[in-house]
């Protein structure tokens, strides 16, 4: 039975970890803008000047 108490504590700890990650994410504004970062990742790196078209 004691193992259930262990599981309980561990499962709560893991879940709390995710909760804290979520709170940290929202407080630092990571969920504010769903559009910009999602698009930015698709842009090609253009550090070198590209050929004119």
């Amino acid at each position: 039975m004691i193992v259930i108490v262990f599981l309980l504590i561990i499962s709560l700890l893991v879940a709390t970890g995710f909760l804290i990650a979520f709170i940290w994410g929202s407080k630092t504004g990571q969920f504010d803008d769903h559009f910009t970062p999602a698009n930015k990742i698709l842009f090609d790196q253009t550090n070198q000047p590209t050929e004119n078209k």
Partner: protein
């Protein structure tokens, strides 16, 4: 001959069709010089990738960009309010760029450092359409950045309202609300998991000296943040509502939450049961979810704008030596000399000193025709200078100007629309019924079984909590708001939806709302004019800024040439001498036709003093508006700031009795709405300009019609895309149906409540029953509102394209 030929070449930059000859650069076609100049800037900085991300994503430049427009940013005091971050050699400035609309915009704006070396980097915040630009103040000034942005089509929008930026942030679903939902969801799920022994009847089993009691205490611990943090707004709101002696839906919810929690605590501590913490946190979670869904906000749209946003932030002040400097508009003093440039709004009353004043007072009077002001006469705040720059001697300081007085008028102040929402009304009856059932079941059990009496009463309060009603309303409104915005109508909040459903009178503004703002039909009646003469007449018209001349110039497609001997007679017309011929274009009396009645929308032509004929210029109705007017099941009125020239045209087009009111000033429009309301009408006002702002805010539902959401609209309850206007009747229908949907789902949730009440009153309520009833009622509600909203969308909304088949 007078038909305009439309080329079917698309502009490489903005994607518009090129009217007339396209401007060609680099073998690419552009619709105007502005577009090709943006391309040249981008091409020089190797930023043509911009066009690969999104085809023709460019933003069109305004026709005549004003070089001095951002001069005021040289004033440190003004510039300081846009700086968000500063350290040695690095400043950051934040601008609102309403033109941001796609991924190409983001790409370009985040590569600004390639256009100018003084910029380190920049970042875009898409939902609020703001860009933060980090730059080296030694290399580039704020003004230069603003001008750079304007030159590539992203002109920063700057208003007097310094708080604008923070307001836009507030409108986002707040981060705190998100955290509250997260915590409630987390605790809800864990409490449910830990309640499984209760559901399965295992709570009394003891192994190794451990009981399921441990789980109960963990549940209690988990429920605390839900009640105290996530659910705090219900208690705070109900406290305010009690203080104002007006019961809202939060009060009975707060009561139910308090009772549920107290009873659960009692059961757990006394060891008699597991309580209803799972139901309680579930309810809070779903209610918060519904609320955040309902408060869907349109962060980039502004509904609460006042007159100040139309005024310039700074004015150009002339000192004694004629040197220009910029000062904030609030600091303008009486007897200062200020310079107003072309297309600037005049912020203060002043005496006209220098230049040619052509003032468009349509903001104030609603009249479209510009007024010429002689030197020495007064120019009033709120007018817009059309032609070149003028100098004014300030006679009244900023806040006391004519215009400000008008808008500070009590009637213009938006009073709280004291509408008891449908939900509030029902919730009051509902709460009353619940309390009655709770106390009568208490009274029923009290003489025989004290324990059952308490149990029954608390169970009733727990089960019949009006949260189902709240969830019903919030989810339905959320879904319908989504559908509306998908179809081009953006509501300020969910309350507006319920008000639309009760409207029984619709009032339209004419110019710009029922008719196209610029496009007008030009008809020529009279003797035929030879092509050579027509070219000259078109050129004459093109050289005048008068709206009627512009319409004529647009109608006659020809490459205008510069005429040397041309004279504009203010208020009458234009005359020109070319090839030893004398041309006149203007009012009937101006061309020498004394017999004709002077009608403002007619322009007469004479060549060498022979009257040839006249152009009749008419604003034309938007497509399908006639169908809308015909379909609306309510009385309709049309208000217009213009003269009654268009009355016959409107009567002929809109074949139904409508009350027409012409020559209406903004105050008259407002007074008209007020008189309708006094006669017991719920008025919907549909308008577009600032001259409708008073009427829009006075009406029960004010809808501002805009051509695109970038455009700035007067304060209103809803913003509608102009091409959707013919569908207005469908929106009203959809609003009525969504109210019916709320009622239907409310009946469903009441059924669940009745089942729950049966268990409660008979004192058989077990946590298992509660745990089944609560989520299943919530899911039924959410699914039925979802289906209902989908049905509303299917049956209420037809597309514009379908209209063409059914009508005409």
């Amino acid at each position: 001959m007078l038909n305009k030929t439309i080329e079917t070449t698309k502009c490489f930059h903005c994607g518009d069709f090129c009217m007339g000859l396209p401007v060609v650069f680099d073998e690419k076609a552009f619709c105007c010089k502005g577009c090709s100049s943006v391309y040249q800037i981008l091409n020089k900085s190797n930023l043509c990738e911009y066009y690969n991300i999104h085809d023709a994503s460019g933003v069109k430049l305004p026709e005549s960009p004003d070089q001095q427009k951002f001069g005021f940013l040289d004033n440190e005091k003004i510039a300081a309010s846009y700086i968000v971050f500063s350290k040695p050699n690095q400043l950051a400035v934040k601008f609102y760029l309403p033109q941001i609309h796609c991924s190409s915009c983001i790409w370009l704006l985040e590569n600004l450092q390639k256009v100018n070396d003084g910029i380190y980097f920049s970042s875009v915040h898409f939902p609020t359409k703001e860009a933060t630009i980090y730059f080296n103040p030694a290399a580039i000034t704020i003004r230069a950045i603003a001008e750079l942005l304007a030159s590539i089509g992203y002109e920063p929008y700057i208003t007097l309202d310094d708080g604008q930026q923070s307001k836009r942030q507030e409108k986002m679903v707040s981060r705190t609300a998100m955290v509250k939902i997260g915590i409630a969801g987390f605790c809800f799920a864990n409490i449910m998991m830990l309640s499984f022994p209760e559901y399965l009847g295992l709570e009394t089993i003891t192994v190794d000296g451990l009981t399921a009691n441990l789980f109960r205490y963990v549940n209690l611990l988990l429920a605390l943040p839900v009640l105290l943090y996530s659910g705090s707004e219900f208690f705070i709101n109900s406290w305010y509502s009690v203080k104002q002696q007006r019961l809202n839906i939060d009060a009975p919810i707060a009561l139910a939450l308090a009772v549920t929690f107290s009873r659960s605590v009692y059961e757990i501590i006394s060891g008699t049961g597991g309580g209803y913490l799972d139901s309680m946190s579930g309810i809070i979670f779903f209610m918060l979810l519904g609320r955040s869904f309902q408060t869907k906000t349109f962060a980039d749209l502004s509904f609460n704008r006042d007159y100040k946003s139309y005024f310039p932030v700074a004015v150009c002040l002339l000192d004694k030596n004629g040197l220009e400097s910029y000062i904030p508009v609030q600091e303008v003093q009486v007897d200062d000399t200020i310079r107003i440039r072309s297309n600037e709004v005049i912020p203060v009353d002043g005496m006209h000193l220098l230049g040619k004043a052509e003032i468009d007072y349509s903001f104030v009077t609603g009249e479209n025709e510009p007024t010429s002001v002689a030197i020495g006469d007064l120019v009033y705040a709120g007018g817009k200078q059309l032609n070149g720059s003028i100098d004014l001697l300030v006679v009244k300081p900023f806040s006391q100007s004519n215009f400000t007085r008008l808008w500070n008028n009590e009637a213009f102040k938006k009073t709280d629309k004291n509408v008891y929402s449908f939900t509030t009304v029902i919730s009051n009856y509902f709460s009353l019924a619940v309390l009655t059932v709770a106390f009568s079941s208490f009274a029923y059990w009290y003489p025989t079984n004290m324990a059952n009496a308490w149990q029954a009463m608390t169970a009733v309060l727990i089960v019949a909590c009006p949260c189902a009603l709240l969830i019903t309303a919030t989810f339905t409104e959320g879904f319908v708001l989504n559908i509306f915005s998908k179809h081009g109508l953006f509501l300020k909040n969910a309350q507006v939806l319920q008000t639309i459903a009760t409207v029984d009178q619709v009032v339209f503004d004419k110019t710009g709302t029922l008719t196209y703002p610029h496009a007008s039909s030009v008809e020529y009646i009279g003797d035929e004019i030879e092509n050579d003469h027509l070219q000259i007449i078109a050129s004459m018209a093109a050289q005048s800024l008068h709206p009627l001349s512009k319409a004529i110039a647009n109608k006659i497609s020809s490459a205008p040439r510069l005429l040397e001997h041309i004279k504009e007679v203010a208020g009458s017309g234009i005359e020109a001498w070319e090839n030893e011929t004398h041309y006149k274009l203007g009012s009937a009396s101006f061309v020498g036709n004394v017999s004709a009645e002077p009608i403002a929308s007619e322009v007469w032509v004479s060549i060498d003093n022979k009257v040839y004929g006249k152009f009749i210029i008419q604003n034309i109705l938007r497509a399908h508006v006639d169908r809308l007017i015909h379909e609306l099941p309510y009385p309709v009125a049309v208000l217009s700031g213009d003269n009654n020239n268009a009355e016959n045209y409107l009567k002929q087009q809109l074949q139904r009795p409508i009350s027409y009111h012409f020559n209406q000033s903004p105050q008259a429009k407002l007074a008209y709405i007020e008189s309708l309301q006094l006669s017991g009408k719920e008025v919907m006002m549909v308008g577009d300009g600032l001259n409708d702002a008073g009427a829009l805010s006075k009406s029960n539902v004010g809808i501002a019609v805009v051509d695109n959401t970038i455009q700035f609209s007067p304060a209103s309850d809803a913003i509608m895309l102009s091409d959707q206007l013919p569908l207005l009747d469908q929106y009203i229908k959809a609003a009525i149906w969504s109210k019916n949907l709320i009622k239907t789902t409310f009946v469903i949730s009441t059924l669940y409540n009745v089942i729950g009440l049966y268990f409660s009153v008979t004192a058989q309520m077990s946590p298992l029953v509660a745990a089944i009833l609560m989520p299943s009622s919530t899911f039924t509600i959410v699914i039925s509102t979802m289906l209902g909203a989908a049905l509303i969308e299917k049956f209420c909304f037809k597309h514009i394209a379908d209209l063409k088949n059914t009508h005409q």
